[in-house]
């Protein structure tokens, strides 16, 4: 396929053909030049966060995306407040059992792990009421055989 326009009248720029197109272009919503492109896993956590908003949770607009090679882990720093309850939302491009997720204290000791709930395919919720305010780490381990793309955000209340 060349991608060329095969309609001769259109190719010659027939005004009768172009007028409706120009009107449509004028009516179309004006958008910034570059719109960010969302990955499937990021869209999944956004939608899940919106659902949680109906349960009294507040959403973060920030989503962290990370490429995680097979067998590797990443520690993401986070600052938690004792008074709040958190729900972490994790989506990945890999299968459900390929990822392990844990919350660690600032020294790297695991505070809570393994209790995340599969919400639907490749999307998990992890509820946490921290014992202390302060720096923590979110540890994600890719136990699978292939690289995984991970999207993470959280809600709180």
């Amino acid at each position: 396929m060349s991608g060329r326009l095969h309609n001769n009248r259109m190719r010659r720029g027939c005004p009768a053909c172009l007028l409706p197109l120009l009107m449509l272009a004028w009516l179309a919503p004006r958008l910034p030049a570059e719109q960010p492109v969302a990955t499937a896993s990021a869209v999944a956590v956004l939608h899940a966060a919106r659902t949680l908003a109906g349960e009294g949770y507040e959403r973060r607009a920030t989503i962290v995306e990370h490429s995680l090679p097979a067998g590797e882990s990443v520690d993401l720093p986070i600052f938690l407040l004792l008074q709040n309850t958190y729900c972490f939302l994790l989506a990945s491009s890999e299968t459900d059992d390929a990822l392990s997720f844990a919350v660690c204290d600032d020294d790297g000791n695991v505070v809570a792990d393994g209790s995340y709930l599969p919400l639907k395919k490749n999307l998990h919720l992890f509820y946490l009421q921290p014992d202390l305010s302060g720096r923590h780490r979110l540890r994600i381990v890719n136990l699978g055989d292939a690289a995984a793309r991970v999207s993470l955000t959280y809600c709180y209340r």
């Binding site: 179309a28 958008l31 570059e34 719109q35 607009a61 305010s133 959280y154």
Partner: protein, 259 residues
């Protein structure tokens, strides 16, 4: 030309804005560090559980533009974003609208107004509809968009100043509430000040920084040191008073109108 017309139509029709009443999308390519610090509404949620803040009494007068330079405008933009978040806590739609007007002025100074003009009406609409949760989400999304656009303008050194403006104003509010309740919720951890100080690491070398940045660094280092030395209840109350006074004075200076 014909192809470009068709492309314009295609793009216009396939990237339709979200249904009214729903927050717009956000930049999904945020750096990992952005989740490192709590958002201002997270602090507000935490303090609301331990105290009864009178949010409307915590409003702060905003300066008249123009500001002195872009770094200053970026910091003030962060302060104004926090101001709108405080108004959201107070459920005060009129104050949100006023703050949004000031935010628009700051965005104009930073050359971001045109690209972000679609977000501001959404903020107004959420305020009108008393949809405070979506309003908070939208204000955070606006800040992320500002950072994305500043990076595109090769101005990414201004991004941490927006975040710092919001954090320092949030600190100001939390310290004021803490003074009233006697509990420094969320702001007693020296690591918090260290993390804020690290945001300044993204800025140019000290000689090229705006003067207020050096003062801010000094303030954060002082607070980090002060809170790390707190062991007893009495010293905690004392440090809370020191924090409230120091942050308040810093903001008073930075929010002075341009001469």
């Amino acid at each position: 030309m014909h192809l470009s017309v068709v492309a314009a139509i295609f793009c216009g029709l396939t990237t339709v804005q979200p249904v009214s009443g729903q927050p717009q999308g956000t930049d999904l390519q945020s750096p990992a560090s952005v989740l490192e610090l709590p958002s201002s509404p997270e602090f507000f949620r935490a303090v609301s559980k331990e105290a009864k803040p009178r949010w409307r009494q915590l409003y702060r007068a905003t300066p008249k533009l123009p500001h002195r330079e872009r770094g200053h405008s970026a910091f003030v933009l962060g302060v104004l974003l926090c101001e709108a978040l405080i108004a959201a806590e107070a459920r005060d739609a009129q104050y949100v609208r006023n703050s949004t007007q000031d935010i628009r002025d700051c965005l104009t100074l930073l050359g971001l107004a045109e690209a972000l003009e679609q977000r501001l009406p959404a903020i107004h609409e959420f305020a009108e509809r008393q949809n405070w949760s979506s309003l908070r989400f939208e204000l955070e999304a606006l800040e992320i968009d500002c950072q994305r656009l500043l990076a595109k303008q090769l101005d990414s050194a201004l991004s941490p100043l927006i975040a710092l403006g919001r954090h320092v104003r949030c600190l100001d509010v939390c310290a004021a509430i803490g003074l009233e309740s006697g509990r420094p919720i969320g702001i007693a951890d020296p690591d918090y000040y260290a993390a804020l100080g690290q945001l300044l690491g993204a800025l140019p070398a000290s000689g090229d920084r705006p003067a207020f940045v050096e003062q801010l660094l000094e303030l954060l280092e002082g607070l980090q040191q002060g809170w790390s030395e707190v062991v007893a209840e009495e010293t905690r109350a004392e440090q809370l008073a020191v924090t409230a006074e120091a942050v308040g004075h810093f903001l008073d200076r930075i929010m002075e109108p341009a001469q």
